[in-house]
């Protein structure tokens, strides 16, 4: 049975990083979360309609984590995540159009139809994917931090991972190097309590929480409730400051919950957990409803404004479906593009010797 985390304390709302927020910024977070939700609901509908292949791992229920953390990024802060990557992609500023088109496998997709749902990238927005192998991105996040430090830049690498990734070896190897070399990486464990169909208590041994495992590596760690943006931002800011000021890593575990299965293909997600549990989260812990209530209470949002924001998100999502639908498929010739930089650029290296071996 997943733990239900307590309400955030007023301290988090009054943290400096939150006190300085303008009403516009607060409404923007609402809009950003609704955009993720409406985008994914539209994607789910199209997936069910047979418009896309492969897997679709939905982020719905976890939106406050991506929005809260990414909202703190500066010019030298970078993001990398696993395969449940739509939320982070929209959070860093990728457009719904290229994201939806990627799901449709179209040439206008963010990866030209070569990556799919699990492999979104936008290096121009400091967003390094979108990685399909559980925990495979954890050494890469370390490398982003290493690169920042090597170049003398004051930045951080926010490396997201699920609770299912914490038992992979390369994560621990990465923690060791992060601490040993004082690298500014922040491992953010989005603990939605299920690694596919296996609950946290059936998959992971721990004392008080997963992040506490960092203790053995002399890495600072923290645990927080992810349903409230103020809390997420207050806790993430501490980690970012630790990275920026002291070049030290953090493991930050953020409690959250996904409403849908591991992927849409996960037919048993109401078997390994109860419908009541899902309903309870939707009713009592929904990050969007919670933030809405918060902003209504603060007097910086009206019901009419909420509806306007929500309708805009729905319209944007619907337009992205139209964009994806009407976009061209990638050409068959593009299968052999983007394999090698040197070949794509027609350099001497790319035109010397045989690179591809079909008859």
């Amino acid at each position: 049975m997943p733990m239900e985390t307590p309400e955030s304390t007023p301290d988090h709302a009054s943290a400096p990083v939150n006190r300085s927020l303008s009403p516009e910024q607060k409404r923007r977070f609402l809009s950003d979360m609704l955009r993720i939700r409406r985008f994914e609901q539209a994607a789910l509908k199209q997936y069910s309609g047979g418009k896309m292949g492969g897997f679709l791992h939905l982020y719905i229920g976890q939106e406050s984590v991506a929005i809260g953390t990414v909202s703190l990024m500066g010019p030298n802060d970078h993001v990398i995540t696993a395969y449940r990557d739509h939320g982070h992609a929209l959070a860093v500023g990728m457009g719904m159009n290229e994201c939806m088109a990627e799901l449709f496998g179209k040439a206008t997709g963010c990866s030209k139809g070569k990556g799919g749902s699990m492999h979104y990238f936008a290096p121009d927005k400091n967003y390094w994917g979108g990685h399909g192998i559980v925990a495979g991105q954890t050494p890469l996040g370390l490398g982003l931090a290493y690169g920042l430090k090597y170049k003398g830049l004051k930045g951080a690498a926010l490396c997201f991972m699920g609770d299912g990734a914490v038992n992979q070896g390369c994560f621990y190897e990465s923690l060791n190097l992060a601490s040993l070399w004082s690298l500014p990486v922040i491992y953010i464990i989005e603990n939605n309590h299920y690694s596919m169909g296996t609950s946290l208590n059936r998959s992971s041994a721990f004392k008080s929480c997963l992040a506490e495992r960092a203790e053995g590596f002399a890495i600072d760690w923290d645990l927080c409730n992810g349903e409230d943006i103020y809390t997420v931002r207050a806790k993430t800011q501490e980690a970012i400051e630790r990275a920026h000021q002291n070049s030290r890593p953090t493991v930050l575990e953020i409690e959250t919950y996904r409403y849908y299965g591991h992927s849409v293909a996960d037919a048993k997600h109401k078997v390994y957990r109860s419908e009541e549990e899902i309903e309870r989260y939707k009713q009592n812990h929904d990050p969007i409803q919670r933030w809405k209530k918060q902003l209504l209470g603060e007097g910086v949002l009206t019901e009419a404004q909420y509806d306007e924001i929500d309708i805009a998100a729905q319209q944007e999502a619907e337009a992205s479906v139209q964009f994806a639908e009407s976009s061209p498929l990638p050409s068959e010739a593009s299968i052999l593009e983007d394999v090698y930089y040197e070949v794509d650029h027609g350099t001497a290296a790319g035109t010397t010797g045989r690179h591809f071996f079909n008859n």
């Binding site: 994917g129 495979g136 890469l140 982003l144 290493y146 690498a157 390369c170 190097l177 930089y341």
Partner: protein, 325 residues
């Protein structure tokens, strides 16, 4: 021209590239303070310091993956694997991340990393330390694979590999580290994808890569001295990209080919070469293409037996003679 060892040639290449490009950084187990498990990086840490030459813990999955991540940000890490055998614990990072990140991002990200180290049998260290994974890694579109046989080639190819914007898997050989060849003082580069005709003949083509190319040179001397057969010896140098033209050129000249490698036979590099010859030189061949590979079992420990597991001149000569019977 100065005679220097294979390891010195590699060291000179690393040293020159560290000085040429501030983004080049050497990382690996024992590469810095210990001066390199096989002394390839000897003296580089003293010369260039902690930032450019970095000792890692024994933690291949993390440090190889870390190098890949850093290369995405524009660094040019040269990562030493003490043995290429240890790539098995970093396989996900090498294949899925170095190999595929460019493709899956639709060309938005490159990975200009070099992963280097010895990949050979013949040193009596058993199966876990004797892998020759050039065929496995050349099977991954997105990766490049290089296997230099001489000090000259090692230096020229290493400098090119570091400047290449794609991930290059650079496979050396501990049995060659102490061997000497002539290497000029002046800077030179050897392109990837260009084979080297190391001996000219007219009767048969011996096609090989890595140390097997040297074994072929020895076999060619025996064939010439004892049997009056003159062999072309073509050293592929680079597996992917592959110099297909050079392969076809030599076979069109001699009309006979024996393919030699220290790789295992099943799906080995020479299986690919063989397929190319079947497809593109079928009418040129006066005899079947034959292969000499490592004997198809995990690497044997016992020194007096292991030496027989890898191709020797005496394994190559009868194969060649069989083409003329």
């Amino acid at each position: 021209m100065p005679l220097i060892t294979y390891r010195e040639a590699l060291r000179h290449a690393l040293s020159e590239e560290i000085q040429r490009d501030e983004n080049v950084v050497i990382l690996g187990e024992e590469v810095a303070e210990y001066d390199g498990a096989y002394k390839v990086t000897e003296g580089l840490w003293k010369k260039f310091g902690d930032k450019r030459v970095v000792d890692t813990p024994i933690s291949e999955a993390a440090f190889i993956g870390m190098g890949i991540g850093a290369s995405m940000l524009g660094l040019r890490p040269v990562m030493e694997l003490m043995f290429w055998s240890f790539a098995t614990v970093a396989w996900d990072q090498i294949v899925n991340n170095a190999g595929f990140v460019r493709y899956m991002s639709g060309g938005l990200i490159n990975c200009p990393i070099v992963i280097r180290g010895p990949a050979n049998g013949g040193t009596n260290v058993g199966a876990t330390h004797s892998h020759t994974p050039e065929n496995m890694l050349a099977n991954i579109p997105g990766l490049k694979v290089v296997c230099p046989a001489t000090a000259y080639d090692a230096k020229g190819l290493m400098k090119t590999a570091i400047r290449d914007n794609d991930p290059v898997m650079f496979m050396e050989n501990t049995l060659l580290y102490g061997e000497k060849w002539e290497v000029p003082d002046e800077e030179y580069l050897i392109p990837l994808g260009v084979a080297d005709l190391k001996r000219e003949g007219s009767d048969v083509s011996l096609i090989a890569h890595g140390r097997a190319a040297l074994t072929c040179l020895k076999a060619a001397e025996i064939l010439a001295a004892e049997h009056g057969i003159q062999a072309d010896v073509l050293d592929l140098r680079s597996i992917r990209p592959l110099d297909e033209e050079a392969i076809l050129r030599t076979v069109r000249k001699t009309h006979r080919a024996v393919l030699v490698e220290e790789n295992k036979p099943f799906c080995g590099v020479d299986a690919q070469i063989s397929s190319i010859l079947m497809e593109k030189a079928f009418d040129e061949l006066d005899a079947p293409v034959l292969r000499v590979s490592a004997i198809d079992a995990p690497a044997f420990y016992s020194p007096k037996i292991e030496v027989k597991q890898l191709p020797r001149p005496e394994d190559i000569v009868p194969k060649v003679l069989s083409l003329f019977s």
